[in-house]
Amino acid sequence: MSLSPENQDTVEASPFGKPGLDRRTMLRRTAAASLVAVPGLGLLDACATGGSSGSTPTSGGGAKDKDNPLGVDKKAPLEVVIFAGGYSDGYAKNVHVPIYKKAFPDADVKETATQEISTTLQPRFNGGTPPDVVDNSGSKQMEFGALVDAGQLQDLADLWAAPSVDDPSKTVKDTLLTGTIDQGMFNGKSYVFNYVSTVYGIWYNAKLWATKGWTAPTTWNDFIALLDKIKAAGITPYGYAGANASYYQYLVLLTSAAKLGGTDILKNIDNLTPDSWKNDSVHKAAEAWASVGAKYTDKSFLGLKHTEVQLKQNQDKVALYPSGNWLENEQKKDTPASFEYAMFPIPSLSTSDKMPVTAVWAGAGEPFFVSAKGKNPKGGMEYFRRMLSKEGAQGFTKETGSLTVLQGSAEGLTLPPGLQSSAKALTAAGKDTFYYLFDGWYKDLDQELRAATNELFYGGGTADKFVDRMQKKADAIKADSSIKKFTR
């Protein structure tokens, strides 16, 4: 769910990116937010923290009709905030907002873009004047658990049940890839709309492989044999960026575990089930990837960022790189003519894996939500409905080079080779797709897993230590009453 391309412009990503706001600015903003409201210390209770009563929607709605099934007030203004990361905000500015304005010419639609989602928006949620639609993504995203807890998110059930724009005989829900809605559920309610279809695999340079005669492996033995061949050719066989993108690798590790032992493993991890990390499949997967880390990588990648390792791959200095299908677009500027992206699913660990080799981690990324306490929640849902029209989805794909969760939205478009390769893998996987949600639910677990993965892969760690460490953290989170729990 929260899996998105690492934003190029955040601190950890760009060598010359915008710095994160420093502590002083943050404190100052917190202070300003609180004290503008009540400049008296005796009323601390009512300060920054007490203002979440929120405004009731001013737009109760208009009449429902065929083109307006949700009953949006046609004159109500709509405010949209987009995270300007890897996808930038052109798709909203040039595609989705114009579509909405065409449908509701009297509505005043305001679109803004920021990379600092939480710092710019959190005070507004606190003060009860949130924007209607938020693309809550990037490393400064607001934590969904806390937002849900505070009742800030609009239940999207009405949207999914509404007729779709292109074919009114189908509901919006019917037009989506399977799992899309599930990945935005919090304890049984749908609050988050993940717009981008993400497929995960191991990426390579198809042109280089053609000249070397290498082929995509399906079994673990083939994979190791391939790594040996690549090593013999003088290329670093495999690697990921430890400095800021170790979650690309922990996804691979958990994929191996899920293929070996079934998707319940991921479900148990999400649900903090006792001993879910000590599961034998997780242990075996950790063991397998630790041995790859010990023999087939360059340990200096621990200190590099995702763009730096990706550039090395473009220069054919690293052969295999785990990532999502945004990779090709992200590297567009740096990819030489001699490089053509292609991917293969993570090879099976054993011959008796519970899932076929074609199974892939497939998720919906780029989480959007509508503010329940905003002025125009119905308008927000209508905006989503129109994002999920063929026009909206194809416009997004053209702007960003990424596919959306709308079924068949790529029909009639010529896709670049890497995206084609991932689309093919998704089709081949069929129903054998899986995902996890703990990284969005429990940030602590995500952080711990990032560090543990680096330790395992680059730091010479062992599988025993890895599972013990993760189990300890998972148990601690489970025992911590201050952390809101979720299940699926």
């Binding site: 060598p15 994160g20 502590r23 943050m26 210390l41 300060c47 007490g50 606190n126 340990k299 201050s482």
Partner: protein, 301 residues
């Protein structure tokens, strides 16, 4: 005209005091209050007593951060001031005595300018520069040559035992220039005749520094110590930008301010405030101790 004094003074003081209360005291007070709640940044806080503090004291990362701050607190002032004192001594009094007048080594004006350069750069730029200089692969300025020589690269930022020293080195590199200027200003206040007298008594450079310059510079050194100590409690921006995984690898370079920030971003504002309160008391204790311990008689000259 005595009776008009108070309204005049008050009118000047009122606005700063009000602003100070609103923008400095207020947030402090609020942080203390939030530290006792489960505030997450989105819904109204509820009072939870000292739960945040108990949790904090059981958190390994918190203790790691405290350790790193204390390490910086000891090492940063010592190293920075040692280098800065040496350099400013060389720039001001280290040269040959000409007609009884002490001056700096040849080219000292130029050096003074050069030493100040790092101070002009923003911390973030410094961090990004060092990231490239210390890169662990062949593109790193330091590791590149090692690579060509076939020596295994040094994990300046990736080796958990080295990483904190790297952070210290970068902090020192950036701070030295400012203290060179500060000490130079202090040294130029020391009357030449004292040096002349020391010269006549046959004092070499070494004893000149330890017996004359340093004692007479004590006030400035004390100020520098407090500044650097406070800087050691911060180090936020550098750690955030320079290090692997913002305070890594595996928490090896994290400092309190980063833990506050991280928890705040994770919607644990109450918990983050508790850490902020801890940081507040640490800084306060340090400042109090320094002022108390370093109290001694002034030398008037």
């Amino acid at each position: 005209m005595r009776h008009g004094k108070y309204p005049f003074v008050i009118s000047f003081l009122a606005i700063p005091v009000v602003l100070y209360v609103i923008y400095v005291i207020g947030p402090y007070a609020q942080a203390f209050y939030l530290a006792l709640t489960n505030y997450n940044g989105f819904s109204a806080p509820t009072f939870v007593g000292f739960e945040n503090f108990t949790r904090m004291f059981h958190n390994d990362l918190f203790w790691k951060a405290v350790q790193h701050n204390l390490f910086l607190l000891v090492a940063l002032p010592l190293v920075t001031m040692a280098i800065a004192l040496f350099l400013s001594f060389m720039l001001n009094v280290g040269g040959r005595s000409r007609g009884g007048v002490r001056s700096g080594v040849w080219g000292s004006k130029f050096y003074r300018l050069v030493f100040f350069f790092p101070q002009v750069l923003a911390v973030v730029i410094v961090a990004v520069l060092f990231q490239q200089i210390l890169r662990p692969d062949a593109s790193g300025a330091v590791n590149g040559p090692l690579h060509t020589l076939g020596v295994s690269p040094i994990g300046f930022l990736t080796n958990p035992t080295v990483a904190m020293w790297t952070v210290l080195a970068v902090l020192v590199w950036q701070a030295v220039g400012f203290y060179v200027v500060l000490f130079s200003a202090g040294m130029s206040n020391i009357p030449q005749d004292i040096y002349e007298a020391a010269d006549l008594d046959g004092a070499g450079r070494f004893s000149m520094f330890f017996r004359v310059t340093l004692p007479l510079l004590f006030d400035t050194v004390q100020v520098a110590w407090v500044y650097l100590g406070i800087a050691a409690f911060d180090a936020f921006a550098l750690v955030q930008v320079l290090t692997v995984e913002q305070g890594g690898p595996d928490g090896a370079t994290t400092v309190l301010a980063n833990e506050v920030y991280k928890n705040f971003l994770q919607s644990k504002a109450g918990y983050a405030s508790a850490m902020g309160v801890a940081l507040f008391f640490l800084t306060l204790t340090f400042a109090g101790l320094t002022v108390r311990l370093s109290r001694r008689e002034r030398v008037d000259f």
